[in-house]
Symmetry: C2
């Protein structure tokens, strides 16, 4: 017997953690149709969401993605038509789950854990994206950034997410593939798990995650140990 109680919930970031944004590249015109261009779009959108949360004027996440898309088209000397921009924004609802994700989620659920999503996408967009990827049914609830009205890593997003889902921070893991996201979750008392697939090396300035692994399967295994 240990004195520490095990986790009851595992809460996931969505874009880049459960869903693979590299596929966005298939919806971008040349020369933006590479994996690094697709990931760059998402990074630039995340950056804008942090800036506007600091400035106190947050918009919808889709507007940041549209702005990033238009800027990159213009940098490539192209016309940022509404059609090209809309196609990219729509593609965010059509990303596949990373290969290992469905089985890893089932493994956690089979062990009795409850699953949820806390994402910077709007709730309706996230619901659509998870449905498209075929994993929506694994989660008891999805909380998007439209609920708190600000973006991660603002503490309000994690707090509102945990509250809506009915979890207790100290008995919930938050899983993300971004160091800034697990860092933000840790600051509000969540237990954290970092997926290293994309970033590979964690910045020293971020709080160490309790567990980490290359992908969601490795992280699920570590949470269950």
């Amino acid at each position: 017997m240990t004195t520490r109680s095990g986790p009851e919930w595992v809460l996931f970031d969505m874009n880049g953690t459960l869903l693979d944004p590299s596929t966005l590249s298939a919806h971008l015109p040349s020369p933006l149709d590479t994996e690094s261009a697709a990931l760059g779009l998402l990074d630039e959108s995340i950056g804008q969401s942090m800036v506007d949360t600091l400035v106190g004027r947050p918009r919808r996440f889709g507007e940041y993605l549209a702005a990033a898309t238009a800027r990159r088209l213009r940098l490539a000397g192209m016309d940022a038509t509404q059609e090209l921009v809309d196609e990219t924004v729509a593609a965010v609802r059509q990303m596949p789950a990373f290969d290992e994700v469905p089985a890893a989620l089932d493994r956690l659920r089979d062990a009795g854990l409850r699953l949820g999503v806390i994402t910077n996408s709007a709730t309706a967009v996230a619901e659509d994206a998870l449905l498209y990827a075929g994993i929506r049914d694994r989660f008891e609830g999805v909380v998007g950034s439209d609920v708190p009205g600000v973006f991660k890593p603002d503490p309000r997003v994690y707090r509102v997410g945990v509250e809506r889902l009915g979890a207790r921070p100290e008995q919930a893991f938050f899983v993300a593939a971004h160091g800034w996201d697990t860092h933000g979750a840790r600051a509000v008392g969540l237990r954290t798990a970092w997926v290293s697939r994309k970033e590979r090396i964690l910045l020293d300035s971020y709080a160490d995650p309790e567990v980490s692994g290359y992908d969601v399967d490795e992280v699920a295994q570590a949470i269950l140990e």
Copy 2:
């Protein structure tokens, strides 16, 4: 006679706006000794400073630079020794001014404008960097992020900077080479000028600057018109 009063102050961001961070590359070991690696270090440091301001646990800017340096060394398969990291952090105090900057600053002063600096570097680091670049004497004051204890674009940084310098926001221009920085300054009532040299195309989600130009000389000219 116009009813609108002219500006009294021109306030500048420092790193990347007045001083050229591409020279940091000379202090980095291969394969990090490229201009894009140097700029990437600074961008990753800025990202951390925004994250920690949101999370509510800001550190000194130098710690973010150290963390970004160590991470990039490790990604390149190298040992992130204290010596290599310290060298990079120290190099931030030894950046030259962009070529056009001294004359452009003199031009603004000759027109009767008062000049100041509001930077995410600590005040003492910024003072050293401006002295090294030979332009400290153009400015009446320098306010670093250690004064408000948070980082731009948090509104407190611009407000405290303006207050310390004795300026009034509506009669001061804020000049920066980052769209997120002029966006943040605009939100607290400053007039803004964007230097397009590095970013080239402004994101649509950011507030339009009142004036813009390729470099500090073009921006100074536009402010004086």
